[in-house]
Amino acid sequence: MDQRECLQEQVREAYQQSRPLQVQGAGTKSFYGRKTADAEPLLLREHQGIVDYEPSELFVTLRAGTSLQTLQEQLAEAGQMLPFEPPFFGAEATIGGTLACGFSGPRRPYAGSARDYVLGVHMLNGLGESLRFGGQVMKNVAGYDVSRLLVGSLGTLGVLLEVTLKVLPRPERELTLVHDTDMATAIVRMNQWAGQPLPLSASAWDGSHLYLRLSGTEKAVAAAQSKIGGAVLDENDGILFWKNLREHRHVFFQGTAALWRLAVAPATPPLALPGQTLIEWGGGQRWLRGQRDATALQALAAEHGGHATLFRGGDRSEEVFQPLPPALFALHQRLKNAFDPHGILNPGRLYAAL
């Protein structure tokens, strides 16, 4: 259902009255970002539907409130998929919320992230103006790349109304291999294999085992399997393993202890941290649990070319994302102001002063 006009009206009014709005899809990712003061919700969930899908052109255009489930079913019917394999974190998850959070799943280091697959958007800025950037074509350098800028901005720059994504064929065959190994060896292997022309599509180390997924043609997967070796996971177990990992249903993620995400250069050796670590994305994404000293964790991540995020739980009234250097943060504020001069869109969700 097309709700564009009433959504635009609501944003326009809020702009005129400088009244904050809380942009909301299905609410499955309300755990993410900072906790903010209650504000009038701007509900995107009814603004749904696939507007255009051309399998042979490799794109799909859909409204932001469309459920991820509906989208994936449609794509699967044509033998295609979202290459960035996004997590749902709830059955009702919408594409708009997924992109606003910038979430990608296990395939990310090998196929690219959510923003890599965005081709165009139709959005409302904080003035309630309806704007289109990008398009339905893969190459487009007319104007600034606002479409990708919106991904991961947590709705603080604009309201995503409609998006065009690049899609890809599903691989003919997938296979998961398991190696019994320690963390250091797992990291080395993930990176060595990623440097070879192998059809890798996911990797993880869960504390005792290295899991590697291969995707491609029957023969390519078989050739890679003989090179990499290891125990083969039963097909259904393999599917379930990556799904549970993606959805944070793996045993590591259970319980209410705070969940930290460290992003580092993938080949970074094991970090001296107490407690268990779960590793994904070829070594680039490392998960930790429990109360941590945020400043120390952030400094450690920065030392290895990355950053730390309080992903879930913990004290969310403080900053949850790594603070930016002053010049870069000032630029963020100017950019926010360029899109949302009255600061009405999800104020404080990304950073307290944004």
């Binding site: 052109e57 190459k139 790349d145 991961g152 950019l335 360029a338």
Partner: protein
């Protein structure tokens, strides 16, 4: 330096002289001439001066002096751009990044390259090759173009359907803003905190900042590669074949189409063995392991035959493969031999609209009396019509530009874009008024102001002023909401 006095002018130049090496500041007219244009040579202008700093600190010092004197800065890489993005502006300096050409580090374990902006695209892959790695985006100008320029234009190449554009292959940038403030954007780690400024920098044509270092993602070199050449009796059949390959779940490494005029020109030039009698040819590159490749090859061959290919040639050895690609990569200069001048367009369209777009181009070609050769990145919908003309014949340049503008409007009308990879520069400012509404353009100007409040980085490029669009009376068109594209507009 509009309205400045002679003494201010002298003070500005001597401030630059003080921080640059002896040969790092050009002010004499004969030294400035090589910089008067980029690859779009019809647009020329002499800059106030050209500076050639050697490293980031010198770039930073230049920017600070320019800020102090209120002088605009036009960044320049190798000058191979095709839209006038590096064309100097009167009263502005040209900031050449050509001397920042060090490959600072190759990180085998993280598979990244840290390079300065003046490093040539091809030099990166050459340096990474011993490690079994390469840098994927390969624009046809890769032998000369620099990575800084690739970032400014978000360059693609013949392999971008499978391996992505510059935006998909850059992990981090060190950028200086207009005041010389250093910003680190992105990192070797996935998904940096805050806004995705890395994406915003890509293709921003030097309007948002000066790139002084890039961290690039390197990929493993594919085990094997082969190329198929298929001939077709019509462009429609060739386009349908492309759709059939993709619909079958195959994403080739490269997928290129050329029409008859382009085939003939390329064949005369490099003798690649292209079939001269074909209405269109497809070049399809497949890569992967040996076993996978044989499997794919058979599937693609069958699909091409089913789609009516009149002949299929397979190049499995490196020599033949390079020869087949050479014809394609030399298509622009080859077409250039057919007429004294040619004007290269760069629209993108949904592939399914290719036949009608080419048909309309053929009608206009006859109407304007100008021949048009078409080269098409078929996998990603990027169409390069090459309009042949003679600048010495009165009105032909004007006619070529008018025809080009109509072609771009048509691209927008069918749901595409006015530029796939060459950028807007100065050349396509008017077409921007067609693709974007005033509100969208105003948003872009506010983005620019967030980075560069004084508007001193590459002013007058990439995003037209609202005033210009209003004067032009250009009609904004959207796919679906378009007045009939064939209609005259006033």
């Amino acid at each position: 330096m509009a309205g400045s006095t002679d003494s201010e002018h002298a003070a500005f130049l001597s401030a630059l002289r003080a921080i640059l090496p002896d040969d790092g500041l050009l002010t004499q007219s004969e030294d400035l001439h090589p910089y008067e244009c980029d690859g779009l040579s019809v647009l020329r202008e002499l800059p106030l001066a050209v500076v050639l700093p050697r490293h980031r600190n010198e770039v930073q010092a230049v920017l600070k002096i320019c800020q102090q004197y209120g002088v605009a800065v036009v960044p320049r890489g190798a000058g191979t751009g095709l839209s006038g993005g590096a064309r100097p502006s009167a009263g502005a300096i040209v900031l050449s990044l050509a001397r920042l050409k060090q490959i600072r580090a190759l990180d085998t374990s993280n598979r990244t390259a840290q390079v300065q902006p003046g490093v040539r695209n091809l030099a990166i892959s050459e340096a990474a090759r011993p490690m079994g790695l390469y840098y994927a985006p390969d624009p046809s100008s890769q032998i000369a173009c620099t990575i800084g320029g690739n970032v400014a234009e978000n360059s693609g190449g013949v392999h971008c359907l499978k391996y992505g554009l510059t935006v998909h292959n850059v992990l981090a940038l060190e950028v200086l803003d207009a005041s010389g403030e250093r910003l680190e954007i992105g990192s070797q780690a996935p998904d940096s905190p805050g806004y995705d400024l890395l994406a915003l920098m890509m293709g921003s044509e030097g309007l948002l900042g000066i790139v002084t270092e890039c961290t690039l993602r390197l990929l493993p070199v594919p085990e094997n590669t082969l190329v198929l050449l298929a001939a077709f009796a019509s462009v429609v059949a060739a386009a349908d074949a492309v759709s059939a390959i993709i619909a079958a779940g195959i994403i080739p490494a490269g997928l290129e189409m050329m029409d008859q005029l382009a085939i003939e020109a390329a064949e005369d030039f490099v003798h690649a063995g292209y079939p001269r009698d074909a209405a269109a040819i497809l070049l399809c590159e497949l890569d992967g392991t040996e076993a996978e490749l044989q499997e794919r090859l058979r599937a693609v061959e069958k699909l091409l035959q089913r789609q009516g290919a009149t002949s299929i040639r397979i190049a499995a050895d490196a020599e033949t493969r390079l020869l087949l690609w050479k014809g394609r990569k030399a298509a622009f200069p080859a077409v250039g031999r057919l007429a004294p001048d040619y004007y290269c367009m760069d629209g993108t369209i949904p592939r399914k609209r290719l036949a009608e777009v080419l048909e309309q181009i053929a009608i206009w070609s006859a109407e304007y009396g100008l021949r048009v050769a078409n080269v098409f990145h078929a996998g990603d919908g990027n169409l390069h019509p090459l309009i042949l003309y003679d600048a010495n014949v009165e009105e032909q340049l004007h006619a070529a530009e008018a025809l080009g503008q109509r072609i771009l409007e048509l691209c927008v009308a069918v749901g595409g874009s006015i530029t796939g990879e060459h950028g807007v520069g100065v050349e396509k400012l008017d077409s921007m008024c067609v693709q974007f509404t005033p509100a969208e353009l105003a948003q872009m100007h506010r983005i620019k102001a967030a980075f560069d409040p004084e508007g001193r980085l590459n002013p007058g490029k990439a995003v037209p002023s609202l005033h210009r669009c209003a004067e032009l009376g250009a009609m904004h068109v959207h796919h679906g909401q378009l007045p009939f594209p064939g209609l005259e507009r006033f």
